[in-house]
Symmetry: C2
């Protein structure tokens, strides 16, 4: 996906947020804004992928902060997601269509903010939000087709956030029941709230999949401009790619791999319209 | 007020909004974003006034659009405000403290979005919003002191938006009852939704004040970096300056004129904290 005019303000908002989360004082917040504006101004062009620009802008800010501002938030979000997981697992088990329910739960994992922002920290609020998202269901539903493609196949599963990744186990379990062999792909370095190998190990997810590999570097989504060979091989050889969240869409949509099933919440207008979907829906959309 | 890190994203959001309002196609929206980012990146510094940067950024975007994107919205907002004015006037007349109620109404005029955004276009929604803002009252209330200073004095009244300016007539009427002689100060050129001489004439407000003058140029707030002599004289000789809205605060706070009564809604964190106030309150605050 190419960057959209709306992306600039959104990216700057995120920069301020992460700068504060990283404990920067007001002087450092000014510097972060200045270097982010400079990087954004230099890189912004209708021909460049949104995630490529975002990667460059976050890079200069992380370098300024000298640390991963999301480190604590990530740990916390995994803990909170694990507390909610039994409820979600119960729903999948009781469902008439466990695969679809597992897809929905994994998308809800992409929406819930497990302790990153304060308003969802409260367990009660989180449960309410979970229930209301379940009630919404899938606004776009290709799960039947996705299920057929997954049967006895090689699946490359691109993860997104911490917290969310715990919910992905439910879908991984369903995929395995269909005889799928799963390669989990996480970020190569800590970036935003995205899951890395450390999270996979912490949640012991490496024990339930065939293989885990990474995107190899600091990048929002998949670094199509600098792909590790192994990642390239995995995506090429997969019978089905399952991609969670918007950043994976933003980057995978720049490449030709097929079939790809995007499981995400359409949180912004550029992604929603790029996918031909309404904004703010839970979507499971297959690109054959 | 110096620019705040949060201002960058807010300004960019406004730029995208006005570019679309001005009917720009997607290609022009990209160009607007690029030139706005460039201007913002060049100007952004903790030592520069927020409104000065905003002026420069809006300038390049207006030049690109080749027209005033808010032209229609401004006309419409005056019309809608006039429809609501009898209700507000009735409230002032029935009030135990007509001056305070007129101050509150003039601040509510600063909050209501008279047809600029679609969600307030509906007359019913607008009335509901008006009532709920009235019920909120003043979150910071220096009206007693302001009233005392206004008695038999020379008042320089700095206006803000179209629509809002119609509501200002209620406060002007109260000021005149106190024996004040009022010089109304509007923007020198169309910028954002701000009132200009054209609006004053259309609403026949020139007939109810002693004098009307302008800020002389295209500027967000008061162009303290390039002041017309007449404006300087008016502000120097005034016994009391009444300043409506945030942009007037952002610029007047860079100058030494006193006393100044700011009548505004604290719509953002930087202005609220700069004034030592809570965000999202109706405030009448006097600086002696």
């Amino acid at each position: 996906m190419k960057v959209h005019p709306e992306c600039a303000q959104c990216l700057l908002k995120r920069i301020i947020y992460e700068t504060r989360l990283g404990g920067a004082d007001i002087e450092k917040q000014y510097v972060a804004t200045e270097i982010a504006l400079k990087a954004l101004s230099e890189r912004f062009s209708p021909h460049v992928c949104s995630a490529e620009i975002a990667t460059d802008v976050h890079r200069v800010v992380y370098d300024l902060l000298g640390k991963d501002p999301y480190e604590n938030a990530k740990k916390k979000s995994n803990e909170i997601a694990l507390q909610l997981l039994p409820k979600a697992r119960g729903m999948v088990e009781l469902s008439e269509n466990p695969f679809r329910t597992a897809v929905l739960c994994s998308i809800i994992g992409n929406v819930l903010d497990f302790g990153i922002r304060s308003d969802f920290e409260n367990a009660e609020v989180l449960l309410e939000k979970f229930d209301s998202l379940c009630a919404e269901g899938l606004g776009y539903d290709d799960t039947e087709k996705i299920m057929e493609l997954a049967r006895n196949s090689r699946v490359a599963y691109l993860t997104d956030n911490c917290g969310e990744i715990a919910f992905d186990t439910l879908l991984i379990e369903q995929l395995k029941k269909l005889g799928a062999s799963i390669t989990l792909i996480v970020r190569g370095e800590p970036i935003l709230t995205d899951a890395t190998m450390e999270d996979v190990k912490e949640l012991e997810m490496d024990k339930i999949v065939y293989k885990v590999t990474t995107t190899g570097r600091f990048a929002v989504g998949i670094p199509f401009w600098d792909m590790p060979e192994e990642l390239e091989r995995e995506l090429e050889s997969a019978d089905l790619i399952i991609a969670k969240g918007m950043a994976n869409y933003e980057t995978l949509s720049e490449m030709d791999y097929r079939p790809v099933a995007y499981l995400l919440r359409t949180k912004c207008h550029p992604v929603a319209s790029g996918m031909g979907l309404e904004k703010d829906i839970n979507a499971a959309k297959l690109y054959k």
